[in-house]
């Protein structure tokens, strides 16, 4: 094969692999959704218990890290934005710019990165290990649907956690950031809050909700999908985790951009 042909074949194979991964995750999402519709009322309690554990691990255990990140980021962003705006004599727009920056983009994106780093990796590794240990097979053979008992709680838990963490992140970044920035800048809290209140509208709340649900559903699904593809050897686990993280980051950046364009134009 010629050099150009070999290069084209490599690009083709890579594209095929990427499309196969997207297809596999989409297929899994459909299967989880269909299986969730068939959950019986007497199974809800068991699934709720697993979901609660997932929320505890993904949201509650990550809260301190998220708040700390938000506080630092909010303070630094506010300082940077203020210094730029004051150069133009436009300090009055500080709250509006902060609200747009944090609520629309930074909040959801950074929370998603925290969740991918903490919980996405854990989900991929856990499911890969469950597959290798025969736990998934045992569940199937017993008649316990892993889509209902293992995957649905992780997806629902991911959505609840992501949404909750984004709200906490936004609040900490906007308010905490203000207090951090106030150590160096002469800012008025009442002025800042009033301007913030007028800058936050329905669109900001909608994008927070949408990004929370989309990121929260996509990350566990992609990570689970890569984890479940492990077949024979424990050495596949770190590879699956790496692929899951890369795919999740790409999915979050892409879907985040699409949602922002769709809502704000």
């Amino acid at each position: 094969m010629s050099g150009a042909g070999s290069c084209a074949a490599r690009v083709g194979a890579r594209t095929r692999r990427i499309l196969a991964s997207v297809g596999s995750a989409a297929w899994l999402a459909v299967q989880v959704f269909r299986a969730s519709l068939r959950i019986r009322t007497d199974q809800v309690g068991l699934i709720y218990a697993v979901t609660r554990m997932q929320v505890r691990f993904t949201a509650l255990d990550a809260l301190a890290l998220t708040l700390f990140t938000a506080l630092l980021l909010g303070g630094i962003t506010l300082l940077q934005v203020f210094s730029q705006l004051s150069g133009f004599g436009a300090e009055n727009y500080l709250s509006q710019l902060m609200a747009r920056l944090v609520l629309r983009e930074l909040g959801p994106l950074l929370v998603a990165i925290v969740v991918i780093g903490r919980s996405g990796t854990a989900i991929a590794a856990e499911l890969a290990s469950m597959r290798l240990n025969g736990e998934i097979d045992a569940l199937c053979a017993m008649g316990v649907n892993p889509l209902q008992f293992v995957l649905a709680p992780r997806v629902v838990g991911g959505m609840i956690s992501m949404f909750t963490l984004i709200i906490c992140f936004d609040a900490a970044a906007l308010l905490g950031g203000f207090f951090v920035a106030r150590l160096r800048l002469p800012l008025s809290l009442s002025f800042y809050l009033n301007a913030l209140g007028s800058a936050i509208g329905g669109k900001e709340l909608a994008i927070t909700l949408l990004k929370g649900l989309v990121f929260g559903g996509t990350v566990p699904l992609l990570c689970a999908s890569y984890g479940l593809r492990v077949r024979t050897s424990p050495t596949e686990i770190p590879q699956a985790v790496t692929k899951a993280v890369v795919a999740s980051l790409l999915a979050v950046f892409l879907s985040g951009a699409l949602l922002s364009v769709a809502i704000y134009g």
């Binding site: 309690g45 025969g134 736990e135 097979d137 569940l139 199937c140 053979a141 017993m142």
Partner: protein, 223 residues
């Protein structure tokens, strides 16, 4: 005798492309007591996985209780009813749950028994099998043979009709062997079929032996 499970014209290749089964036909009637023998690579574990719906043949079909296992095993009514007693070598227990939760899970999830009641039933079964003191332990804190025994107890709780039991890990000590035999004696009723691999806890003379070799299966004959 009526058939509980049937393998029809099964063709299966290993991941490396080697033919494991080539046009294999075999049936298991209700009440069967079978033991599978064969050299390493003969496909005995694969045969068990085929019957459990965990492995799909390249060609041919697996029929459980009169219904073919197509696509996802989970959609098969026999498996959905929790009537398959799958006991892998490692017990197949969830590592992040206690033994009690592991044993109560299928009762609660599949058969709709209330969680508290399912846990009480699991506790009773564990006491009867002599593993009561392990109830609050997670599998990684238990010996391998105890996990395998727990797998047997879990299948007994479900009143399985088709038992597929892999060989226990290593040699069983006399006490675990006795406990496993007691579980099987009490749980495997006359109607249920039992297919086992290896020596395990059972008396070889009570089981009909089948020899797997070169992708074929035949009644074992003493050399």
């Amino acid at each position: 005798m009526a058939e509980l499970a049937r393998l029809e014209d099964i063709h299966l290749r290993s991941l490396e492309g080697r033919a494991v089964f080539d046009a294999l036909d075999w049936s298991t009637p209700f009440g069967a007591r079978y033991r599978l023998l064969g050299p390493s690579g003969s496909g005995a574990p694969d045969l068990l996985r085929l019957l459990a719906g965990l492995l799909h043949p390249d060609r041919g079909q697996v029929i459980l209780d009169g219904v073919p296992v197509d696509g996802q095993a989970l959609s098969h009514p026999f498996i959905q009813r929790g009537k398959l007693g799958w006991v892998p070598s490692n017990g197949g227990l969830l590592v992040n749950q206690t033994l009690t939760v592991n044993l109560a899970l299928p009762l609660a999830f599949v058969q709709g028994v209330h969680s508290a009641e399912a846990e009480a039933m699991a506790m009773e079964a564990m006491e009867a099998a002599g593993i009561g003191p392990l109830a609050q332990l997670r599998p990684h804190a238990m010996e391998l043979s105890q996990r395998w025994l727990a797998g047997l107890v879990r299948a007994s709780l479900m009143r399985a009709e088709l038992w597929l039991i892999e060989a226990p890990p290593g040699d069983l000590d006399a006490r675990t062997r006795k406990r496993a035999r007691r579980v099987l004696d009490q749980a495997v009723d006359a109607k249920a079929a039992l297919i086992v691999l290896g020596e395990g806890a059972w008396s070889p003379d009570t089981l009909q032996a089948w020899q797997l070799e070169d992708g074929r299966i035949a009644p074992w004959e003493e050399p």
